[in-house]
């Protein structure tokens, strides 16, 4: 069971695809202007990640090593198309605002990376769990980044949530503070890069603090061996 705990720890924190592996930066920076968009893309990526991990894990013994990458890419592409059609059908507003980044999930390095590094070597159950945890870690970074940028630029949270969740969520928008002059930069790509840099710095600070708390293993002193004989 500790194996699963390790997978969760790796996906959510230690090897977080957004903050540590820095994979999928393009969608990460491009669509996180609001929490709604970030959540939408995060969940879509997570779904693709889970199912691609399961499928890759199932076929791992039948695929020759030489052509495994094309096979993985085809599996991922099929899944992305499915997710794209689903969002197009059930969340059309979100489909419009995510734009090109939805089909571009297929090129997200997190997905092919996990298929190659984890799913092709582990059982379907473990692969599915890894997909879930990596997806959650990725979504968490997207949502935090989206929240920071949305608060800075518009002073709101969950603006346009009805696009994602249906009309009942239309009143979910929270006005944190009122801005007369919006901080445009947070909405633009440079703001995304800056905010991302600060998030990574924050993670490093937390890691350093955690490390300081851990008891350091005492280093054994190496006794100097005498080679020459003393008489």
């Amino acid at each position: 069971m500790s194996n699963y705990r390790e997978i969760a720890w790796q996906g959510l924190w230690k090897n977080n695809p957004g903050l540590v592996q820095l994979l999928g930066l393009c969608p990460l920076l491009a669509v996180t202007a609001t929490v709604t968009n970030a959540l939408g893309l995060g969940v879509a990526t997570m779904l693709v990640l889970i199912f691609s991990n399961i499928l890759v894990s199932l076929v791992r013994d039948f695929v020759p090593k030489e052509i495994r990458i094309p096979v993985f890419v085809m599996i991922i592409a099929a899944l992305v198309t499915t997710v794209q059609l689903l969002i197009n059908a059930y969340a059309y507003g979100l489909y419009l605002s995510l734009g090109i980044f939805l089909p571009l999930i297929v090129t997200n390095c997190v997905i092919i990376g996990r298929a190659e590094a984890f799913a092709s070597r582990n059982t379907p159950a473990k692969a599915a769990f890894d997909g879930l945890m990596m997806g959650l870690g990725f979504t968490a970074v997207l949502v935090v980044l989206g929240a920071v940028r949305e608060i800075l630029s518009q002073g709101t949270l969950f603006a346009g949530a009805d696009q994602l969740l249906g009309s009942w969520a239309a009143n979910m928008t929270i006005q944190i503070w009122h801005v007369d002059t919006s901080f445009l930069l947070a909405m633009l790509p440079p703001g995304a890069f800056l905010a991302m840099g600060f998030l990574i710095a924050l993670k490093n600070v937390i890691d350093t603090k955690l490390q300081e708390k851990q008891p350091t293993a005492e280093q054994q002193e190496i006794a100097r061996a005498r080679i020459t004989k003393v008489n």
Binding site: D180, T181, F183, L184, L185, A186, L188, P190, L194
Partner: protein, 349 residues
């Protein structure tokens, strides 16, 4: 008469960071005064506010980094950054614009990259670009120069505009004598040309006097004078300034010769906007510029060409901040290719 015998170096020069920075600051003051004459007290208030914020931010960051606070405050580099940013932004911009800009310049651009001497970008210009992108409206609302303005802001009006934004109509101070809203000369030229006017027709507007921009011409002249004094004092080298002004002159000269109707004249480009301020006070920042003499010439020329290209073909009326940042990016590359020959070695290796 006693002859003291000392070992070399026999010619010493007082070139500590603090001394150089102090000289640069002093030489920029005439320009600031002229700016205040034409645009009211706003610039001075912005500069003072920026310096206060910069000193507090510098002290706080040095404390966080567990470094000596006094040394950092005593080298005047934060003051210079604040001064340049305060000069660069519109005189009546709301107070939070300059506060955000100064904090960004000192904390992010300077100290997150390792503090004085390690920053990749010119802090004042990086902050200016941040503000320009984040607050385009506030950053392009310039006051009309006094001789051409209907209302000039007095001290009280400047203070209330800066600290109580929205208390009065800022557009009142943008009105010219003829009652139309005025922009900066470069902005007017850009808009005029894009509307199909010839450059001569643009220069006939009330913002200009015999082809020169009212106010802006003398502001530029004051910075030119300050810059020449700095050259004489040895606070800066001539290469960067000369390279930039020559490149801007040549580029605008070629454009003007090809088609004088759609291009501003070289004199217009040299004495409008932040040209002289950039050539002597901004581009010459020793930390972010190229370091060899030939490298400095190339660095300056690159800024001049970029300024002209962005002014003429880009989306923004003035281009100094963008040009300086782009040239900052190129400085390591320039240094790599323009290495001076080591004494006793052949060039090339």
């Amino acid at each position: 008469m006693a002859f003291k015998i000392t070992s070399s170096p026999h010619v010493t020069k007082n070139s500590q960071t603090a001394t150089v920075m102090q000289r640069v600051i002093l030489c920029a003051l005439p320009g600031l005064v002229v700016q205040c004459v034409y645009f009211g007290w706003g610039s001075l208030i912005q500069v003072l506010l920026a310096i206060a914020v910069a000193l507090v931010a510098e002290a706080a960051v040095m404390k966080l980094r567990k470094r000596a606070v006094g040394v950092a405050l005593g080298d005047y580099s934060a003051v210079l950054t604040a001064l340049l940013l305060g000069i660069a932004i519109p005189p009546l911009a709301p107070w939070w614009v300059i506060v955000i800009g100064t904090l960004f310049a000192i904390v992010v651009v300077k100290h997150l990259y390792g503090g004085l001497g390690n920053n990749l970008f010119n802090p004042a210009m990086a902050a200016y670009v941040l503000l320009l992108i984040a607050y385009p409206v506030q950053m392009t609302t310039w006051v009309a120069p006094a001789p051409a303005a209907q209302y000039s802001p007095d001290l009280l009006a400047s203070i209330s505009q800066i600290f109580l934004p929205g208390s009065g109509d800022i557009n009142l101070f943008r009105l010219g004598i003829d009652g139309t809203t005025m922009a900066t000369p470069l902005d007017t030229m850009k808009t005029g040309l894009s509307m199909g006017l010839t450059s001569t027709e643009v220069l006939a507007k009330p913002l200009f006097d015999e082809g020169l921009s009212i106010g802006w011409f003398w502001v530029n002249m004051a910075y030119l004078a300050g810059g020449l004094v700095m050259l004489k004092l040895g606070a800066i080298r001539w290469q960067i300034s000369t390279g930039m002004l020559a490149a801007l002159f040549i580029c605008s000269g070629i454009g003007f010769m090809m088609n004088p109707d759609t291009h501003g004249s070289p004199v217009f480009h040299l004495f409008s906007g932040a040209t002289m301020l950039a050539a002597f006070f901004i581009a010459t920042d020793p930390v972010t510029a190229a370091t060899s003499n030939r490298g400095r010439l190339i660095f300056g020329a690159l800024i001049g060409v970029l300024v002209y290209v962005i002014r003429q073909y880009g989306g923004y009326p003035d281009a100094v901040a963008f040009a300086v940042l782009l040239a900052n990016l190129c400085a390591p590359l320039i240094d790599y290719y323009v290495r001076p020959r080591t004494y006793g070695h052949r060039s090339g290796n």
